[in-house]
């Protein structure tokens, strides 16, 4: 695809409907972006500024929230502080000015890494299984295919809070409780249903003749799958990966019930920050901002595939 293809409809929309559409889009964008912007700004406020009423829109930026997020601190008496050697680094100076001493790094980095490993690991597995299963459901005559598909979907239907205890018992017997592997397997199991259903829709859209032609030309079924079907399904795979990652990344109920230390992800960790020594909203906002960045990057990286796929589809049909 060398020339850029732009999607356009046959009938140009009237200027009035364009105006209405743009107003709607802008309103929706403002509604969705405002909370994110607010969280981002709160991350750079000082604790008194963050709970000031009326809320402050203009304020003096401070990185105290981020320092508080990455360190554990303890409050000390002025006499004890005076007896300490002078602070070495800028963040020590900042903490010292609040009559506190840095105890050590906080657990936010391991928790963040847990989120990364569990989120991306389970997304990868779910998309792999989902692609293969969707291909099989789409192309081969599977006995009771509709019932099997519905059974796969039904794994999502129980509220997590209801299935958490049986899963906890299973995990304890298998030695998987509070391990990253256990959480990856659990999120994969939940996400496979979404992946299979979404990808089956995309696979059905790819004409069967493409791979049949490839097989006539001497490819095996597996080669045809990898060289013909997979490139065509990139759009579907990218969209599925984004949805799976968003689910695994934001999952709260399972994470809070099944992990306590070793494998704890960010969602149960962020409320835990609030409880540590007063309500430290800037630290919470800082954690949320950092938590939000990887998924934003992932979506932006895959967006090119999404857009390209949409125009591909329009041309092909």
């Amino acid at each position: 695809m060398n020339t850029p293809v732009t999607a356009h409809s046959v009938a140009e929309p009237s200027s009035r409907s364009k105006l209405i559409a743009s107003v709607l889009v802008v309103t929706y964008a403002v509604i969705t972006i405002l909370p994110l912007l607010w969280i981002f700004l709160t991350g750079f406020k000082t604790p008194p500024d963050s709970i000031a009423y009326p809320p402050r829109i203009l304020f003096e930026p401070s990185v105290e929230g981020y320092v508080n997020l990455f360190t554990t601190r303890s409050r000390q008496t002025p006499e004890f502080l005076a007896s300490l050697p002078p602070p070495q680094t800028w963040y020590e100076r900042l903490v010292r000015s609040r009559n506190m001493v840095i105890g050590g790094p906080s657990k936010v980095v391991p928790r963040f890494l847990n989120s990364m490993i569990i989120g991306f690991g389970s997304t990868f597995l779910a998309v792999c299984f989902g692609t293969i299963a969707a291909y099989a459901f789409s192309r081969f005559r599977v006995p009771l295919a509709d019932d099997l598909l519905f059974f796969i979907l039904s794994t999502r239907m129980m509220p997590p809070i209801a299935v958490a205890i049986p899963i906890y018992l299973m995990f304890r017997h298998l030695g998987l409780s509070d391990t990253k592997l256990g959480m990856i397997l659990l999120y994969t199991a939940v996400n496979v249903s979404l992946a299979v259903w979404l990808l089956k829709g995309f696979m059905d859209e790819i004409p069967r003749e493409y791979e049949e032609a490839a097989m006539v030309d001497g490819y095996t079924r597996l080669q045809a799958f990898f060289k013909v079907v997979l490139p065509q399904a990139t759009t579907g795979i990218a969209a599925t990966a984004i949805f799976c990652l968003i689910f695994a990344w934001n999952e709260y109920a399972f994470a809070v019930l099944l992990t306590s230390g070793e494998a704890q992800t960010m969602p149960p960790f962020i409320p835990f920050i609030i409880g540590e020594g007063g309500q430290d909203w800037p630290a919470v906002a800082a954690a949320t901002t950092i938590f939000f960045i990887p998924i934003l990057c992932f979506t932006i990286l895959l967006r090119r595939h999404l857009l390209r796929g949409i125009t591909f589809g329009a041309v092909r049909k």
């Binding site: 509709d146 039904s154 999502r156 509220p159 809070i161 059905d204 109920a253 969602p267």
Partner: protein, 82 residues
């Protein structure tokens, strides 16, 4: 069209068993005005310790979603075949 219906299906299932947002924002309160089914489940199971009652409730929830989704998927398949 099938993709739109698929999106509705998944969102409906997710929202039917929504737990985390309600739990963090209101935890079912004030009183029981925002008590969705999964919050009732949690309250019965982990605050009143009526495990049997809440297990039964979980099964009822599951059967409800199962039935509703079954009808919906039949409609979805009919749309796809057209």
């Amino acid at each position: 069209m099938p993709f739109l219906m698929l999106a509705i299906l998944f969102r409906a299932i997710e929202n039917f068993k929504m737990f985390d947002m309600v739990n963090l924002l209101t935890s079912g309160g004030p009183g029981s005005t925002t008590e969705v089914a999964s919050i009732t489940l949690k309250r019965e199971a982990f605050e009143k310790w009526r495990t049997g009652y809440s297990s039964a409730l979980a099964i009822i929830l599951f059967v409800t979603v199962f039935g509703a989704a079954n009808i919906y998927v039949k409609a979805l398949n009919r749309v796809k075949q057209r």
